[in-house]
């Protein structure tokens, strides 16, 4: 594969361009879905190809899976033709200078998920399924295993030569329950396929789906009989699986510099965190510290180098509650005068790298979750992502979780269903008054973050510990 990359770079260097890179990617994935005692699907996929980025008066990008010399030449021709068209309506494009690497990186892992026999994974998932078969009102039992392996090669006309092998593994389980009048769902360790990490099969084993199957199924059934979430204002505690999404939507996306500069305006939207706010806008309370960290061990957004050759790093986004940093590409950083954060990532070989989250992590505080509960007079604990919606500047949000737990006088008193909460991002984070510590901090993986046109899907991570937010509106809607 190295040969075709070198061929591409050699050809680009003869074209008198301002900048060019060739990024080759080969991805292998395995998906096993078990549902109601049968294997719903086993899919094995592989995809390989390359994308070419050029600047010649404007940006051009072409991608192809034709690995012949002719294919590469045609793709470069197409990228240059596209750049020529862009140059008719383009600004001067400056890329911030970065260190140029000739390096390689491999995800540290113990067990290659692709070398574990299919039979072993199937047996395990079938056992998990059986454990969930406890009540007729459970209409769907499902569990899954997913793994990806990606080999990447990146070369640029600036001299970068980077090879990477990245592995991601994960899975989960869940039930859908119905009594004919109502339907509820409950999942472990999170909804929408579970949890994921940049580790090997050992991560899937550590999830202990088997040990959590029955309790999850039971609570799903219990939700049918649970009380409806109350309406009003009260303190809320977000468990890590839901807090990860809150960080994702209300901090991850608005600190993407491309959104702040308007280049996603017509699709995903813009951001309330505009460059004039950088350095002095109070985003949250003093205890809120959020970083973009592509070096976090095991994070789904962990890698060696991003897709424009920038070495993985940790960058402050929110420090002591103040908005201090962006996730920025080389082009965006040059425009605004901020640090290049190493967040440019593409969905496979086919797509153009755009600013994407890596691991956007909320740093731990100094409480324990038990202490937070004990010191809450009236509140709700939210657990398990179910519904999420936020406006196109990332201000007004409304989230719903699978389950809620009512707290009265410092004790958890009952399970509640259809819990929802809503708010405005800065008000919400300024009402954050307690964050649990390191020992309860979890690094979750979100494998399906959508952004860009054509739509791209990205795997990102979010680390956090349970946290409390005061005076939040809950129980939205007419039931």
């Amino acid at each position: 594969m190295r040969d075709i990359v070198e061929l591409g770079i050699g050809l680009l260097e003869k074209e008198g361009i301002e900048y060019g890179d060739v990024r080759l990617s080969q991805t292998e994935n395995e998906v096993i879905n078990v549902k109601n005692g049968a294997v719903e699907s086993i899919k094995s996929g592989e995809s390989k190809g390359y994308g070419i980025r050029v600047i010649k008066g404007g940006w051009g990008f072409a991608s192809s899976s034709d690995f012949s010399e002719r294919g590469m030449k045609e793709s470069i021709k197409r990228a240059l033709k596209i750049a020529a068209a862009s140059s008719k309506i383009s600004n001067n494009i400056d890329l911030e200078n970065v260190e140029i690497y000739q390096e390689s990186y491999t995800t540290p892992y113990k067990k290659d998920p692709f070398k574990i026999p299919l039979e072993e994974k199937l047996d395990y998932l079938m056992d998990v399924d059986e454990r969930m078969e406890i009540d007729d009102r459970i209409k769907v039992r499902k569990c899954n295993f997913n793994a990806w392996k990606t080999i990447k090669e990146f070369a640029s006309t600036e001299g970068a030569r980077i090879e990477q092998e990245l592995i991601m593994t994960g899975g989960g389980l869940g039930v859908n329950v119905s009594d004919g009048e109502d339907t509820q769902k409950r999942s472990y360790p999170n909804s929408f396929g579970g949890d994921y990490n940049s580790r090997g099969y050992e991560f899937f084993e550590d999830l202990d789906l088997l040990g959590n199957a029955e309790d999850t199924a039971e609570e799903g059934v219990d939700l049918l009989e649970a009380e409806q979430c109350p309406e009003g204002e009260m303190d809320i505690i977000l468990n890590t699986n839901q807090l990860a999404l809150q960080v994702h939507e209300s901090c991850g996306h608005p600190t993407e510099l491309d959104r702040a500069l308007g280049t996603e305006a017509s699709y995903a939207g813009t951001s309330f965190l505009t460059p004039d706010k950088l350095g002095d806008f109070r985003y949250g309370s003093d205890i809120v510290n959020i970083v973009s960290d592509a070096t976090a061990e095991g994070g789904l957004g962990t890698f060696g180098y991003d897709d424009e050759g920038v070495k993985a790093k940790k960058v402050d986004l929110i420090r002591n509650g103040i908005f201090v940093g962006y996730q920025a590409s080389r082009e965006g950083a040059a425009k605004v005068g901020v640090e290049v954060s190493g967040n440019m990532r593409a969905d496979g070989w086919k797509n153009l790298p755009i600013v994407r989250m890596t691991n956007i992590n909320l740093e731990p505080g100094d409480w324990s979750k038990d202490e937070i509960v004990e010191e809450t007079e009236k509140g709700i604990i939210f657990d398990g992502i179910k519904s999420w919606s936020i406006d196109d500047k990332r201000l007004n949000f409304q989230f719903g979780t699978e389950a809620g737990y009512l707290i009265e006088n410092g004790e958890i008193t009952k399970l509640i269903k259809n819990p929802t909460y809503t708010g405005l991002t800065p008000e919400f984070w300024n009402n954050c008054d307690a964050i649990a510590g390191e020992e309860e901090w979890r690094l979750h993986g979100v494998p399906n973050c959508g952004k860009g046109e054509p739509p791209q899907t990205m795997q990102v991570g979010h680390g956090c510990a349970p946290a409390r937010f005061t005076d939040i509106r809950v129980g939205v809607g007419k039931w």
Binding site: S90, N176, S178, T263, Y267, S389, T422, E453, V476, G477
Partner: protein, 458 residues
Amino acid sequence: MVGSKTLRKRFDEVADKILNEAKADEIEVRIIQSDTALTRYANSRIHQNIGQKDTHLSIRAVFGKKVGSATTNSLEDKDVKNLLAKAETIAKNQRKDPEFYGLPAVKDKIDEKSAFVKETAEYSPDQRAEKVKEIIEMARSEGVDRVYGAFQTDMKSLFVANSHGVRRFSTLTTANLTTNAIVDWDDDQGFGWGESFSADVSEIDHIEVGKTAVEKGLNNIEPEKIELGEYDVVLEPLAVKSILMYLDMMGFSAKSVQEERSFMNGRFGEQIMDERVDIYDDVSEKDMVGFPFDYEGVPKQRVDLIKSGVANEVVYDSYTAGREGDKESTGHALPMPNPMSPLAMNLLLGTGDFSKDEMIEETEKGILVTRFNYCRPIHPMKGILTGLTRDGTWLIEDGEIKKPVKNLRFTQNLIEALDNVEAIGEERRLFPMGYYPAYFAAPAVKIPDFRFTGTTEF
């Protein structure tokens, strides 16, 4: 551009090889080839401009009731051979699925032609840039310096063959242009939106799209906060598209009914919406685009999901049809295996006899909505959806558009909303879904007592 006949011949060769060499009881070969070109512009400059080509070969191998599938993006002989071996190995190691009743064997002759327009297929980066430039110049002439959007042209081919003799091939083209105008005014911004979609790029009036966005943006300066509560709403077609899309995802598939999570459950034959509401899936309607067969090669049937307001039927793929025994696939399979399948992919809301202007004139106090943003189901069985308005929301008073208002969050039971529908538009417009190859044709509608539960700051 490779001609359709050449492409078909190549796909036939690949399929023949697989079908001849396969040892499985049943085999399905699916090839999707796409060529996407997209010009994105922001701040009145082109900032992303791409061309993508890909081929996706998938093999589904079946031994008895054991199914395995594998995919690759290479049609090279050795890769195809490896793929077949992999799909068969997976199937052999698979567990039996007692509810799998075989691959479909529907070989009825149909017109396999999709909407294919040569001009769309051959549209160049220069042509897209030229149209974008004209939109930018038009906006500037109206005093709007910042426009954003995307101009996308696609050509997509779908080939399906299986060991029961099914063999289908079709190619379609699509073009989609969006413009988002952001109008600066003191410390404020006005947002406006225009969009046009067609199989034929020449039918896209780029200036009209741009003008719509600019006009909405200019009329959307200094929006005011209004009190939350229930309002009559006039929803433009793009907002109605979101309603159709989420009804589709929440309850129009046999899978959602079989899993007892659809708003249709237990209500078939019951009047659940106003009698003027007809929602149906029909790829053959003149204002629709799409492949005439699904991803299993089954011809798409018209399915009347809501007929005169009555919960009537849902869409099936071969698997969900097999589970019920007395059902046939309606031709709504996604690329299988797929947890989202089946899905209505060509959904239409029947038209009424009102114009949008008449709906506004007949409104004493209400809200005009351009489109919705980031909708998500809250409770699929109750049909409750939340989302926000975007790119132009206005207060209507005494039959006139009075003033722009800040974007609003709704949390609304859609079944109730369509049961209460007051007026349905006489014209509908076609929009793509985005993530899935699904298309929605929607007119404007007027709905009373639409529940707004939150507001934002712009």
